[in-house]
């Protein structure tokens, strides 16, 4: 049984629930957060092995959260998988520019999520 711990961060509660249920069915432990600030607050506690992180969220967007995770010695080893529809939907915004130039995320999954693909990516990074 895997003991890996994953945090799911998205402002769509139904998506958080769907992804969490899938992860729990694969024996991962799961924490949930519904915006960037809440995620950062929870990261002060038990550190997850991997964070599944939406881009467009209220209070603090996913790119900022990712940068804060990766620029902090306490959290920089956490694997960050970004969920993004931005690249497909919008050709020229500061989101896409940010995406291409500066993000420190470990992987990307486009929205709408292919749940099996997401699980493959999680397994690849965590060696589950």
């Amino acid at each position: 049984m895997s003991e890996k711990f994953i945090m799911v961060v998205d402002d769509d509660p139904d998506l958080v629930e769907a992804v969490s249920m899938k992860l729990e069915s694969k024996q991962f432990r799961v924490a949930k957060a519904y915006d960037g600030e809440e995620a950062m607050e929870k990261l002060k506690g038990e550190k997850p092995d991997l964070v599944i992180l939406d881009v467009m969220m209220p209070r603090k967007n996913g790119w900022v959260v990712c940068d804060e995770i990766k620029n902090n010695d306490a959290t920089k080893n956490i694997v960050v998988v970004m969920l993004t529809a931005v690249g497909d939907a919008v050709q020229s915004t500061s989101y896409t520019h940010h995406d291409g130039k500066t993000t420190l995320a470990d992987d990307y999954v486009p929205k709408p999520i292919d749940m099996d693909k997401l699980m493959e990516i999680v397994d690849d990074h965590l060696g589950a």
Binding site: P13, E17, I113
Partner: protein, 320 residues
């Protein structure tokens, strides 16, 4: 809490019903997104509550639709625990905060309130629950930054999703449900909340909840319970509700079934409800209750109808 929406409410006399008059059909024809829908066809007149963007309302609503500035307050995750609805009835009933409709999704229990009453409703609910550390502030309007706000309302949710077949994350079926429909008066809400706490104490699980408040304080609550999740020796639901309500106002239907599906950005796309309900109605499958909350569509159908329902939905919705 949401921003400002327009609440549209429609009653349709089933005896002279024509499907084309349904509000969700008109909204789909006008390409207007429904951010919340609660539909109750169990009794006559049939009731439909929709929430739409305020600017869209005048074009979509005819004179037969009530309108009001309203907002949505969502409690999540409910984990299918009746304690969530117990909190809503107790908190809003105690403070006598007006609400108009509620419905559940896979994780949320969403309540329609007056726009001006959202803050008060959220604060009342917060007194009954433990919010997580770092939770979002209890304030109206989601505080997206400028770019996110633009993307949430434009290309990501409109241009991206014109699909001949609508993608979903799968269609779930629940069978053997016990559907309880309870009529109540607004002054009975707190008592009803306590009765629902009893259900929660028995570890009962619900599959779907919807409620509507009509004029003059009358309302009804529909709860589809999953008996398989209730303690084996738990009292029947009637035992819990008897102290709160006259039994003549409790109607139970056994072996009810439910279709439930969730798709990318369903909450931001017009026509989803119309296509889903249209698939079923065209296939001759009666719809008893339906809700569109967040990105989830939930539909309660009579016994034996979920299987054919999946087939009907599959003509329009993709299943992975």
């Amino acid at each position: 809490m949401s921003g400002r929406f327009a609440r549209l409410y429609q009653e349709v006399d089933a005896s002279v019903n024509q499907e084309s008059v349904y509000l969700y059909r008109k909204l789909a024809a006008d390409r207007i997104n429904i951010v919340f829908l609660s539909l109750d066809f169990l009794r006559n007149p049939r009731q439909i509550t929709c929430m739409v963007a305020p600017g869209a309302a005048p074009a979509a609503a005819g004179q037969d639709h009530d309108q009001g500035a309203a907002g949505l307050v969502s409690l999540f995750p409910h984990r299918f625990d009746p304690a969530a609805m117990a909190v809503v009835f107790a908190a809003l009933g105690q403070r006598q905060i007006p609400w108009y409709a509620m419905a559940s999704s896979g994780s949320m229990l969403t309540v329609v309130t007056d726009y001006a009453g959202q803050q008060q409703a959220a604060e009342a609910l917060a007194e009954y629950i433990q919010l997580p550390p770092g939770h979002g502030p209890l304030r109206v309007q989601q505080d997206y930054d400028d770019i996110a706000r633009r993307l949430k309302s434009a290309p990501e949710t409109v241009a991206q999703y014109v699909e001949a077949r609508i993608r979903t994350y799968g269609i779930a079926v629940k069978t053997g449900l016990k559907l309880c429909r309870i009529d109540f008066h607004s002054h009975e809400q707190v008592l009803l909340g306590r009765a629902l706490e009893g259900l929660a104490a028995d570890k009962a699980g619900f599959a779907y909840i919807s409620a509507n408040r009509a004029a003059e304080g009358q309302g009804h609550l529909a709860v589809a319970l999953d008996p398989g999740q209730t303690l084996a020796d738990a009292p029947d639901i009637t035992a819990h509700l008897a102290p709160a309500l006259c039994s003549s106002r409790l109607e139970i239907r056994e072996n009810v079934e439910m279709l439930c599906f969730h798709g990318p950005h369903f909450g931001d796309r017009y026509g989803i409800a119309d296509k889903a309900l249209g698939c079923l109605i065209n296939a001759g499958i009666p719809v008893w209750l339906a809700g569109c909350v967040g990105a989830t569509v939930s539909i309660i159908v009579p016994p034996g109808m979920a299987g054919p329902g999946v087939e009907a939905l599959s003509t329009t919705f993709d299943r992975p």
